[in-house]
Amino acid sequence: MKITLTKKVTFPSGKKLAKGLTLEVVNEYGRELIEAGKAVEYGAEAPQVIEEQINKLD
């Protein structure tokens, strides 16, 4: 499965891979990373995090 990392991930080997890296992994591990929100399937857009803006009134 080809995935793109959406977060910095430390692989079972101990290697740290940077956010944005595209690589191929076994399906099972790819699904695990996607479910954990650490990767998306290659070509899919990363989910947008909507941050609420707090308006501070003086």
């Binding site: 499965m1 692989f11 079972p12 080997s13 101990g14 891979l17 890296l21 690589l23 191929e24 992994v25």
Partner: protein
């Protein structure tokens, strides 16, 4: 099947920029020939074994490459190796393995390449991709 589809995965990650991949399985035999064998050799089963080999282009930024293989080799540690298309329904081979050979070649004005051999240890799984 197109051979391009079959890749070698080490520790869950595809060995990047591969140009070749192979698996070789064998079984030793015990000679059980006796005077009663009528002049022909009799064999009995013995140890099964296997290797997975890969050749690839060297890239410093590979998601899985020589740096990772060096770590496994120098640590003398096992890693899970899978020879698979990762296409649902296709067959794959998987086993724990040691990196028993790693060779890097750098010819003048040529691609830097490397090849690695994984000696399989323990059970060798042959199944279909979920």
């Amino acid at each position: 099947m197109n051979g391009t589809l079959l890749g070698v995965y080490a520790g869950s990650t595809l060995i990047a920029h591969a140009t070749e991949g192979s698996i070789s399985l064998s079984m030793d035999t015990r000679d059980a020939t006796t005077k009663s064998s009528s002049g022909t050799r009799d064999l009995l089963e013995a140890t099964k074994s296997g290797t997975i080999s890969v050749s690839a282009l060297y890239a410093e930024d590979a998601a899985y490459g020589v740096e990772d293989l060096m770590t496994a080799w120098s640590g003398r540690s096992t890693l899970t190796v899978k020879f698979s298309t990762e296409v649902s329904g296709d067959h794959y081979w998987e086993a724990s393995a040691y990196v028993t050979s790693l060779e890097v070649n750098a010819g003048m004005e040529d691609n830097v390449t490397y090849s690695a051999t994984f000696e399989l240890t323990g059970a060798i799984t042959y199944s279909t991709v979920a």
